[in-house]
Symmetry: C2
Subunit: 300 residues, 2 copies
């Protein structure tokens, strides 16, 4: 088989449902109407109609389509399990790289990895081509891919790049009028930070997700498709690294929460200088934490 027939199978089963909403003897809508309802092309509808016709569930001759009998459970086609989407792949791939400290310059085996992540090989290929634009992987001279990997340089450059973008975002942000929705969003975030701080001893692990939400919110101030794309990858990398780095985690997260709160105050001040200082201070801590977590991994 070339393309998968999940589409046909889904359409076939939905068609059975449609038949069962009618009484025996009733006629079915036109092919175009069915195609529209099922969200597939007429080709698929006709294939499905042929299927139910072959099973003697309907009579089908030209425009005459009438239900002959009720469809049973046994008539349904089994669903073949769907493969993971490219978004799920992104998460599991980065998780694999970061969690297992896959070393730099590792040769990536498409066949094996596509099995591991249960995606089609060409989906992985496509995904890697995208990552190559971020310099995370590279095409080898004669076919194949290598993981450029999570080196110290990579972490430094990633952090620097993140800082540049975020500092620009806050320059825009402080200028926003007081009735801009961003302030409401920040207020909510502030409250969430305070809540977490109150129960930090038991729930410190919730911080990783809050950190992600915080930086994402700030970066929306620089509404730019390029920033947006980067932000996704950056936050994934920071997110996982902070999650796997267990050393001193409670204290580290408590400190970060306090930095975030100072950061929010800085933004509220309306003074770009003050905001920038608070931001820089936090971004610098983040960078150091990232580097330290690398070191911990590499020498453990």
């Amino acid at each position: 088989m070339a393309r998968t027939d999940v589409r046909f199978r889904a359409a076939f089963n939905s068609l059975l449902d449609i038949c069962n909403t009618r009484k025996v003897g009733d006629s079915l809508p036109s092919e175009v109407a069915l195609a529209d309802e099922l969200g597939v092309s007429r080709t698929v509808v006709r294939a499905a109609l042929q299927g139910v016709h072959d099973k003697a569930i309907i009579r089908w001759d030209g425009r005459d389509k009438a239900v002959l009998r009720r469809a049973t459970r046994a008539d349904r086609l089994s669903k073949r399990e769907e493969l993971a989407s490219i978004e799920e792949l992104e998460v599991s791939f980065l998780e694999w790289v970061l969690r297992f400290d896959v070393p730099p310059e590792t040769v990536l085996n498409i066949t094996q990895l596509s099995k591991q992540f249960s995606v089609a090989p060409h989906t992985l290929q496509e995904f890697l081509a995208g990552l190559a634009r971020f310099g995370l992987v590279e095409r080898r001279e004669r076919g194949g891919w290598i993981l450029r990997g999570f080196t110290r340089d990579f972490a430094v450059e990633l952090s620097d790049f993140r800082s540049v973008l975020e500092l620009h975002a806050i320059k825009q942000l402080v200028r926003r009028p007081k009735d801009d929705p961003i302030w409401e969003a920040l207020k909510t975030l502030e409250q969430q930070h305070l809540d977490l701080l109150a129960r930090i001893d038991t729930n410190f692990q919730d911080f990783s997700r809050l950190d992600e939400a915080f930086h994402t919110t700030i970066n929306t101030a620089f509404s730019n498709r390029f920033v947006f794309e980067f932000q996704r990858v950056i936050s994934l990398i920071f997110h996982y690294h902070f999650q796997w780095n267990k050393s001193d985690e409670r204290q580290r997260n408590e400190d970060a929460i306090k930095e975030h709160l100072a950061y929010i105050d800085g933004l509220r001040s309306g003074d770009p200088k003050i905001a920038e200082r608070a931001a820089l201070s936090h971004l610098e801590t983040s960078k150091l934490t990232l580097l330290r977590s690398l070191k911990d991994h590499n020498f453990s």
Copy 2:
């Protein structure tokens, strides 16, 4: 045939050359040595050896490999034309989009385009997957790609993003010591600008390339792999747009040269404020030119 055999054909012909450097009766090096010399795997070497053996050019039995006769022109395998590389594809694709003003939301036909650019369909697929990270193309719900296209928004966001990166680069640049090689590079660029200014009436079209070199040089100051990747795409887009925009070209380029010279002076001043002002002024002009060239295209 699955993979192309260009590799084998090249190895075969090179092997003929190697045979001809020896006298009849001489023996050939080991398979590993040959593989190393030809830059291919032993599998290919053995296939090539089998080939020359079948043509009775060598005697081959285990370790015994001896030249039987000189190879002639007729023995050589014809080269099949190679497909374009992914770098060449990048250039021709963007040239196609920008030169022919392919409208936003155009559905891209992989089969047709891969023929047009003479690459394998999956090479194009992989290339588009990379571009998707820059938001230039997008995957459609049910297969296929669409060109998100060169809209006004895209141009604005691209220019803004470029400005952010470049302004950060110059912040680093002005701090560089006087013996840093960057100053020598800028001096050379300055001279090239002055030269072009002197013969602007006839050679104004050379500016596009000089502009590219200038901005690339400045951005090397922010030595960062992410910046580097972006820089490539950004400069391609600006390059082509300026090249196709013929309105007022001579004057426009003359003005830009003068801005570049002021920009260089600003950098030399060592004062971040002055440098930034000169840079911003030029970046703003660039942005407006880009937007105007869009408008010209869309309404012509």
